[in-house]
């Protein structure tokens, strides 16, 4: 049985323009053609997801410190939403605090990146993501 693999969409929820640009730049640098949808905060991300603008399969790259609805609150929302509960979420933040890390994993994230530690221009993250969705089986719709 072969399933045609669709390109994975990246939902980037990041309030910082430059960081968001870093990701898109890294994707360009790696010559990846995955669609990237950006939301400026948790609330916008939630709206995008609920409005169905984000095509499955998708991976969410989530910042924690954001206005309106922050990362952890966003995680709470999607984990309570039966349609979104299976979403694969990576956290990308400046916070190194143990509390944030623990709280994030409790909400079933797939990985936690600290911005300082991911190398020049977020290339490493993009490499990980690329490797990840190449071989990982995503949850069915």
């Amino acid at each position: 049985m072969t399933v045609e693999k669709k390109e994975v969409t990246l939902l980037l929820i990041e309030d910082d323009e430059v960081d968001a640009m870093s990701i898109t730049r890294a994707f360009r640098k790696m010559s990846l053609g995955n669609p990237i949808i950006r939301a400026c905060d948790g609330l916008e991300g939630l709206e995008l997801l609920r409005s169905g603008k984000v095509q499955s399969p998708y991976v969410i790259l989530l910042d924690l410190q954001m206005p309106r609805l922050n990362g952890l609150e966003f995680l709470d929302e999607i984990r309570q939403d039966p349609k979104l509960v299976n979403s694969i979420v990576f956290v990308l933040t400046t916070s190194k605090s143990d509390e944030d890390i623990t709280a994030s994993y409790r909400k079933h994230i797939a990985g936690y990146f600290v911005k300082d530690q991911v190398g020049e221009g977020f290339l490493d993250i993009v490499k990980v993501l690329n490797g990840y969705w190449k071989i990982v089986i995503f949850p069915g719709e």
């Binding site: 910082d16 430059v18 960081d19 640009m21 870093s22 730049r25 911005k115 300082d116 020049e120 221009g121």
Partner: protein, 590 residues
């Protein structure tokens, strides 16, 4: 902060000591009680001794009075026997003139003070009465014998000198009265000097008690070995009349004694101070009274001796009262001292409490302001970092994207921009580290000094020409803070080296209570006057463009070491080489 409980226990126990010493305790009461007991004991003993000595004095004085009376009576007895000897020595019978001469030459008032006179009483048989009177009237025409009585014999007072004061007695027949008569018979029968019982002398105008003192004389050569022989041989007696009050005032002048006398004979009063002019000295409630019976020449005199007012006056002694007063004063002073001390301690305690409270408030404020400052430094440096990171990224993108478009000068500017951003990033990192020092407490763990130092050295970006030698030693300290300190010190040693190659030597010494780590380099050293400056925050001794640095390495290390209770000092001659000495407490409490 872990040592606060022990500290507070210490201060608490010190405080308890103050509280204890500010209260009256058993020992204070014990000392006061002991002192009171001693005072009263001293007072009691002094009083007892005084009373004893007073009693002894009374005893002495009373015995002395009696002895004086006895002595005086002996003196009078001698006078009487002297007269007897004179009579016995005369060839013929002693006549009036001869007796007068004798007693004049004797000067009896000077020789025998207290005596009323000295005389002779002759024994006259009834049948010889008239011839005796006739014979006497040859010299003294008015001589008669009186009064008449029924006794078988006469005992007329024949001579008595001095005549003037005794003229009523001349011719008095002493047999007329019982006491006089029995006294003379006793003298005759015993051959001894004898006294009469109390009588009133005829020559005493005041009619006060008195007595006569007889000494018998007998025919020359006659036997006198028995009562009957003596009765047969009796001629007469020499005698002396006494007025008792005169005798006593001559013997025991009232002002020379401290006792009141009362003398009686067989219940009849002989003498009583109360009857005299000096009765004022009598003590109505005498301190002492003594009754003594004294045998005196055939009579028994009862002496009643009691202390008088003079005695009472002399017996007064302030000593016991002074002792009592002194003791009470000492006790009061002691009490005052204890109260004073306890008050002083209470005040000290109150003062200490006030100061402690103020100190606590100040400490709380200080802690709060320190926390605020650290919080501020942390937040500021953290929040400053994200825009900085954005700047750095943007700069790198411009460099990448416009590599072929930009003129060389702009490229250099971009390089400088990047460089300054890097420096600011490092500054913020160090500031964050500095602010974080107090935010996390690291536990002590075994740390291999050599391995740790080598790892840090290898991770630092340095030319291959730099070498490190480190003493192998295992310490039990907080690892991460020690790493921060070593990293900064080693990094400084390399960064500030003036030559292209260098050597860093880390040695270790164990003191009593601390680990001493010496980080020694062979660099340019730090001039003495700049040592303090080197430890200040954001201070670099050379321009930052020459040596990349935040200027926080040393102050960060110092603060870290001090946070763990240690110290960091710099030793340098300012010419070659610097030694940084880190003393890390060896105690496991931190």
């Amino acid at each position: 902060m872990k040592d606060i409980p022990t500290e507070s226990i210490n201060t608490e126990s010190e405080r308890q000591k103050l509280i204890d010493s500010s209260q009256f305790q058993g020992i204070h009461w014990f000392i006061l009680m002991l002192s009171c007991i001693l005072t009263f004991a001293a007072w009691y003993i002094a009083t007892e001794q005084h009373n004893k000595s007073v009693a002894e004095r009374f005893e002495r004085e009373s015995l002395q009075s009696i002895e004086l009376v006895k002595e005086r009576m002996q003196l009078y007895e001698h006078a009487l026997w002297g007269a007897v000897a004179h009579i016995d020595a005369s060839d013929k019978e002693v006549d009036y003139l001869q007796w007068k001469n004798y007693s004049d030459s004797l000067q009896i008032h000077q020789t025998y003070p207290g005596i009323n006179g000295l005389g002779i009483i002759l024994n006259v048989k009834l049948e010889q009465k008239n011839s005796f009177i006739n014979q006497q009237q040859k010299q003294r025409a008015n001589f008669t014998i009186h009064p008449s009585h029924k006794e078988p014999e006469l005992w007329p007072i024949t001579y008595i000198e001095p005549y003037l004061t005794n003229k009523q007695a001349v011719g008095l027949d002493v047999a007329f009265e019982k006491n006089r008569y029995s006294g003379i018979k006793n003298a005759r029968d015993t051959g001894l000097a004898q006294l009469t019982g109390p009588i009133t002398l005829v020559q005493d105008a005041k009619q006060t008690p008195g007595f006569l003192f007889y000494a018998p004389f007998y025919k020359k050569g006659a036997l006198r070995d028995s009562v009957s022989a003596r009765r047969e041989a009796i001629i007469g007696v020499t005698y002396a009349p006494f007025i008792m009050s005169k005798l006593i005032s001559g013997t025991l002048a009232v002002d020379k004694r401290h006792v009141t006398l009362k003398i009686s004979d067989n219940g009849e009063s002989l003498y009583n101070d109360a009857d005299n002019d000096d009765a004022s000295k009598i003590d109505p409630n005498p301190l002492f009274i003594k009754h003594i019976d004294v045998d005196l020449y055939g009579r028994k005199w009862q002496f009643q001796i009691s202390s008088n007012l003079d005695f009472r006056e002399n017996s007064k002694s302030n000593q016991p009262h002074l002792i009592l007063l002194g003791g009470v004063i000492i006790n009061l002073l002691l009490l005052a001292l204890f109260i004073f001390l306890s008050r002083a301690n209470k005040q000290a305690l109150a003062y200490a409490d006030v100061i402690t409270r103020e100190l606590k408030i100040k400490t709380q404020r200080l802690v709060k302001s320190n926390q605020d400052l650290e919080q501020f430094a942390y937040v500021a440096s953290h929040d400053l970092k994200s825009p900085l990171n954005a700047i750095r990224k943007l700069v790198s993108w411009i460099s990448e994207d416009c590599e072929n478009l930009l003129p060389a000068s702009s490229k250099e500017h971009l390089t400088l921009l990047n460089n300054r951003s890097e420096r600011m990033n490092k500054l913020l990192d160090d500031l964050l580290d500095y602010a974080r020092i107090g935010r996390h407490e690291y536990k002590s763990q075994p740390v291999d000094l050599a391995a740790t130092a080598r790892e840090i050295f290898s991770l630092l970006d340095h030319p291959k020409t730099f070498t490190l030698s480190v003493e192998s030693q295992s310490l039990n300290v907080a690892k991460i803070p020690l790493e921060i300190v070593l990293r900064n010190l080693i990094s400084n040693a390399i960064k500030h080296h003036d030559k292209s190659s260098g050597h860093i030597e880390i040695t270790y010494e164990k003191d009593d209570d601390s680990h001493a780590i010496y980080v020694k380099d062979d660099g340019p050293g730090i001039p003495k006057d700049l040592v303090d400056k080197a430890l200040e925050m954001f201070q670099t001794l050379r321009p930052r463009d020459k040596v990349e640095g935040s200027g926080m390495g040393l102050s960060l290390s110092k603060k870290t070491v001090e946070h763990y209770g240690g110290s960091l000092t710099i030793e340098s001659d300012g010419k070659s080489g610097t030694t940084i000495i880190v003393r890390w407490p060896a105690k496991n409490t931190k």
